[in-house]
């Protein structure tokens, strides 16, 4: 029997998957952070890990958005819970590459986001596949599944 945690929420378990899709706008990244918080609570991360993930998921969205004309695209976040970790994947779909390419500024911003992710999570990456950009991260749990 799975016991609810202190916040009264039913925990998420191995294999659970949550998908969030929203218009690729910077002001909506708050949605990603809120969902990341709720999921972190339900997989048993402590408050420090939760804050790490909130920060990291924002960087993940930035990574996916960088260098694209994102105004017409959607960000799709997929949270997958396993016994050992939480995996978050962020895909930008439906957006054309930005006019003029990524530029030095974009590359620097990417680099900073990647460096921040490296400090906050156990693994991360950014790939371009089938015309869309996918950034991902993996945060391992310290203890056993909640």
């Amino acid at each position: 029997m799975i016991e609810p945690d202190v916040a009264g929420a039913d925990p998420l378990g191995d294999g659970d998957r949550i998908v969030l899709t929203f218009p690729a706008r910077g002001d909506l990244v708050v949605l990603a952070r809120l969902v990341a918080s709720a999921i972190s609570t339900r997989v048993g991360f402590d408050i420090e890990e939760l804050e790490d993930l909130r920060l990291a998921v924002g960087e993940l969205c930035l990574l996916a958005l960088q260098g694209s004309d994102a105004w017409h695209g959607d960000l799709r976040l997929e949270f997958t819970v396993s016994a050992e970790a939480l995996d978050i994947s962020c895909t930008l779909g439906g957006a054309a590459p930005a006019l003029g390419g990524r530029g030095d500024e974009g590359a620097e911003a990417d680099q900073l986001s990647e460096q921040i992710l490296a400090a906050l999570v156990d693994a991360h990456g950014r790939v371009e596949e089938d015309g869309s950009v996918r950034a991902w991260l993996l945060k391992r749990r310290k203890g056993p599944l909640a």
């Binding site: 952070r33 809120l34 918080s37 900073l112």
Partner: protein, 221 residues
């Protein structure tokens, strides 16, 4: 090397804003960490300095919060904000004659909208307790009524609620209907039935208590 990377330290410090620490303090922590990272950096390891410094600075910023007991305070702050929201909700309902928006609650409590949503989410666990508590000025019933409304939103829960409502006296049922279905404030209900607002408050509290007992009994069947 330090001067070249001060911008990096500032950018990283900004990422840790909204946790109750002033930006200047965070920038100071990040800048000191930058100096430390210069001291510790070993070019022979083949690691990029910016990556090494980022990791060191974030580590120091996190340690800064940890040393200040931030995790405990943050948890307490969420609980306090949740309670504060209860008072703010009751006050705003009276002032506005309707339920406040998250933006209005954020302004009233001096928080961000995101913090308000977080607190509501995190506070869900306190819902049952708040319904149990007795009605008084420090613990406005109007706030708890909102919680009850949200609490019984599934088909199963409504199925439990209907027979419980039927057991209440007509006047109490009528008050609940005015409050929840018609959305009247306690003062408006008081005016409609010719009693004081405090009396309405007490009647609502008693009705909710009775409902809760009845539902608990049925749920345990």
């Amino acid at each position: 090397m330090i001067t070249d990377n001060l911008g990096l330290a500032q950018q990283l410090a900004r990422r840790f804003l909204h946790r109750g620490e002033p930006l200047e303090d965070l920038v100071q922590v990040a800048s000191i960490a930058l100096v430390k990272s210069v001291d510790r950096f070993d070019p022979g390891r083949g690691v990029d300095f910016a990556a090494f410094a980022t990791s060191t600075i974030i580590g120091e910023l996190k340690r800064h919060f940890r040393d200040k007991g931030w995790a405990v305070r943050a948890s307490r702050r969420v609980q306090e904000l949740y309670l504060e929201l209860g008072h703010a909700t009751a006050t705003l309902i009276q002032e506005l004659g309707r339920s406040p928006t998250v933006a209005e609650l954020a302004r009233a409590t001096g928080s961000t909208e995101e913090a308000v949503i977080e607190a509501i989410e995190a506070g869900q666990g306190y819902r049952a307790t708040s319904i149990d508590a007795s009605e008084n000025e420090d613990d406005p019933l109007s706030y708890r009524l909102g919680r009850l409304d949200a609490h019984y939103d599934s088909v199963e829960e409504r199925a439990l609620l209907a027979p419980a409502l039927a057991m209440l006296p007509p006047r109490e049922r009528s008050i609940l209907r005015m409050r929840f279905v018609q959305g009247l404030t306690q003062s408006e209900i008081a005016g409609a039935i010719g009693v004081s607002q405090m009396h309405v408050s007490r009647l609502l509290a008693a009705s909710l208590e009775e409902l809760r007992h009845h539902i608990d009994g049925r749920a345990g069947d």
